[in-house]
Symmetry: C2
Amino acid sequence: MEHNIYDDPEFLAGYTTLSRQVDGLAGAAEWPAMRAMVSDVASQRVADLGCGFGWFSRWAVEQGAGAVVGIDGSISMLNRARAQTKAGDVEYRCVDLNFLDLGPQTLDLVFSSLTLHYVLDLSALFLTIANALVDGGRIVFSVEHPIYSAPSSQNFETSVSGKRIWPLENYLEEGERVTTWFVDGVVKQHRTIATYVNALIRSGLVIDQIDEWGPTADEVAARPELVDDRHRPWFLLVAATRMR
Amino acid sequence: MEHNIYDDPEFLAGYTTLSRQVDGLAGAAEWPAMRAMVSDVASQRVADLGCGFGWFSRWAVEQGAGAVVGIDGSISMLNRARAQTKAGDVEYRCVDLNFLDLGPQTLDLVFSSLTLHYVLDLSALFLTIANALVDGGRIVFSVEHPIYSAPSSQNFETSVSGKRIWPLENYLEEGERVTTWFVDGVVKQHRTIATYVNALIRSGLVIDQIDEWGPTADEVAARPELVDDRHRPWFLLVAATRMR
């Protein structure tokens, strides 16, 4: 397996300070939108791809999921996930998602939070997932929004007319983006919305909903520091259903 | 009916000089992608919403469509469309798309090129279209890409680091955008990709494909003046199928 950035001690030390890692799902601004997409997981067989510290996996157990598998490529993440999870509640597996193997028609729900933008061959992974989902099974995932991941600089600038602007460039140039996030050299894969949506459809899934997630105007009124996230969405959320 | 900008003589004089109006479909860079989405129209009952000078309507007739209705809110456009169309080939109707009425289950294909960003109530129009399509009937449309329509300035700028950037702002602020295009005061409705996609799904359609259209790298190599359209897509193309 390739080196996983989440096993880098310096990266992990920074990452652990994020509110979504300190407070779990409640610290993730987009969680209410994702939770609505996930809906009822009672009795469902769930896989959590890129489970990290296991926040969603444990939530699914609390909601009465029939079986939960948490999968991540970072052994450091999984060690902490295991330490925080009651024995037997979640089956954690250390697997690089570029080489994921899932049994056929064994899952009702595949969940993935902010992970698929690390995967190299998205079509291959979607086919693996489509093969693993039962008829009517669902995938709900989030990734960094392509508008966010496209430019080489992820900082707002001031336009020639004095406006606060997001310096978009190279939106249609898919592929590797190397950014600094706690450490230098964090590699993500930039893809367009069309690529995510069309790859799902080609895998045999039907799109239920997409959400170009940013705070609502009301949320910005309550938390003015979020105003930039109205200029360019932060995350792309997608829900789709397997149809056989 | 409200004043239609396409009936403004100064606007129309400028608009008529566009290559897609001089050369028709062959002058529209995105036409090959849309044509692939449209696929076979032989024997199909087709409506062309925002038909303009009737280029697509006549193409559909040439391809053997069973019946073609061209609908536009501009009488100036329709007068020229009628003058260029063999009598009886296309039924042209002057209708504001905000007040469109179509019979139930009377159409196999609804086509619309660069028109829906003028419509005020998109959900109402999609419901009208969904009601008009037979089971398995399709919609194929293009609109200005939301990345293109969002900012107040539609001109590239130079970033602080010297890069050519698209000054994105207010992507999530949907609603009216007033631009200068041949004349001042051209009003379009900015919507996110999610809004287009989710409104279709809620109307009972299944998404087949989306295309955030820009030239390919090969096309830019052949026509270097298109390079900016790799930085931000120009059009959003969507194909969806009515499922009853």
